[in-house]
Symmetry: C2
Subunit: 392 residues, 2 copies
Amino acid sequence: MTLPLGYRYASSYAKIRKVAKDDLALIVSDTPASAAAVFTANQVAAAPVVLSRQHLAATKGKLRAFLINAGNANCATRTGMEVAQQTVAAAAAALNIPANQVLPTSTGVIGVELKASLITKALPKLVKQLTPDGFQKVAEAIMTTDLVPKTATAELSLKGGTVCIAGMTKGSGMIMPNMATTLGFLMTDAALPAPVLKKMLTAATEESYHRLSVDGDTSTNDTVAIMANGASGITLKPADYPLFQQALTKLMQDLAAKIARDGEGATKLVTIHVSGARTNDEAARIARSIANSPLVKTAIAGSDPNWGRIICAAGYAGVKFDPAQVDIAMQGLLVCQGGLAAPFREKELKKRLDEKDVHIEFAFRGKRPGRAKFWTCDLTEGYIRINASYRT
Amino acid sequence: MTLPLGYRYASSYAKIRKVAKDDLALIVSDTPASAAAVFTANQVAAAPVVLSRQHLAATKGKLRAFLINAGNANCATRTGMEVAQQTVAAAAAALNIPANQVLPTSTGVIGVELKASLITKALPKLVKQLTPDGFQKVAEAIMTTDLVPKTATAELSLKGGTVCIAGMTKGSGMIMPNMATTLGFLMTDAALPAPVLKKMLTAATEESYHRLSVDGDTSTNDTVAIMANGASGITLKPADYPLFQQALTKLMQDLAAKIARDGEGATKLVTIHVSGARTNDEAARIARSIANSPLVKTAIAGSDPNWGRIICAAGYAGVKFDPAQVDIAMQGLLVCQGGLAAPFREKELKKRLDEKDVHIEFAFRGKRPGRAKFWTCDLTEGYIRINASYRT
């Protein structure tokens, strides 16, 4: 795994969460980096989201550090903004950088006061532990109900040389498209202007995190952020942008799929492919409706090729269509042909549905261009067990 | 329980479903009745829905009978429309009435051919069994995954005398607002014109079935229909309309709440009250978002007063608001005050949340008029168990 140059990472246990597992982390660029972020669209935005927006606006997209804590969302509390500001100030002081070059992010329980001192006291020591090798450790520290850390890297050969992108993400519940979902941190050693970075991140988010749903819920803290520090010595030329965009989108899709696969209680990653819609947006709406249907998700948990639930979920997506034009395949086997049952081998299909990767292809006949790919997971009793006692 | 005059009911087992339990039913008015219905908005509408729409249009709202089968949705099949027409014709012949005065409705599995002969053969005998006392038996015959039959009746004293309304409904999963949900059959012995009846049914549906969600899914077959046969001898005057509307709405809310309480795997009926919104529609959108949140529903299953999930779900309802203006109470105890944690007795509240009826009050401060009441249920492992193996 090749990581981008010029970044250091550290994490420690600051006693924010009850269990003794790292809950505080820093990702620092050695030099000021172009930066951009996509935030939750929830009306109830956590204090760190509000402060992060202010920082990126003030610096016009320049950052040195991501400050991350797990165990407490610092949301819907009396002292939220104060805590965010104090912890950012402490990080900036320890790193000797301007406060507004720190992007604060939090994840965890909502509505419980977060003690700033837990973080401010831990920061000087944490800064001393920063190391280029801390990437994986930080990916573990930011986990909440995640079962596995989620990372991805990409190398991109350009005329001028090679640049790297690395990403880590967390999240396994409360994940829903139409907003930045969960926490995601992306680092590249390419150099490119902040406005271009912002555009690329937004486009990549649209095709990755916004095409992801575990339970249809959307958090108050969701943030996906990127730094580009130029430590590779390579400044992207406009001709390189499409390639970089493609690599970034692919990497973020990889991260999004990892979140779905690790969905709370999930046993299967479900990838939904919609094609032949009028527009990509209509395709995405249909895919999202299928992905959010508890009936579809429980059927897949039970390896039940219940295509009726799939076409039914598509039917209430708010997109007009003629069911007679719909073909549906599961695991490569046609189950619905022109809106009617196709003669498939039920035993064979049930066996294929026992696999860890399930693919649903929902295709409108004809040559219309609208397509979407969407990631979700099955819905099992495990989801209930995890969420019926989160706080206790 | 006083039933409206002039209706007869019958049900029998026609071998549509595998288990030997009544699956075919008739509700017949002795005389032609004014009639109206609200149907699913799903793009994939079952054949009986399509045919029912045609019948009501052709007769301008006149019916003699509801023909109902459980065990097969007669949807997304090659022979759907043919089967609907044949069974309607058989019912009309046996009853000696015009075919378009029969409203066909089906519920059950999608995408499996329904054998018309099962129904057409059973109908002559079924018609002979019609009796004013068959109301409860029919309410049981229309159940699918329902655990209990769901009925409600109302008596309404008007200047001219007393009129009755009775209703029965089925449904415990795949229930979601914004469409007619599940199957509902309403009978009254008042006389009123079909266009007025249609208006009243639509208004009452808006405040009842459209304010109901079990799992966010919406069926291809949902139908709520009413007949008004005038057998009481009382013709409603326009001055009586508001009272009748009120009674009809209340009765349908009662049925909707019964569906939520019997939601698949549900252990609790959850009633959500939103107040102080700009409009009733915005209040309903917030209530629906809370009602559809798996995180809220699992928290309630676990008697966890996790109000953070409630304000979070409101936050992604697509309605702009200031969290500082939000108060939330659960079981009458304030848990969130101005968007922040209120000091509540956690043990006491957890105990109250163990009750079978859970109330969530979500109030915006100020005097804005928008209100909504919404019904849902908790989400438990039972829901998963029921739906992971429906077809098998």
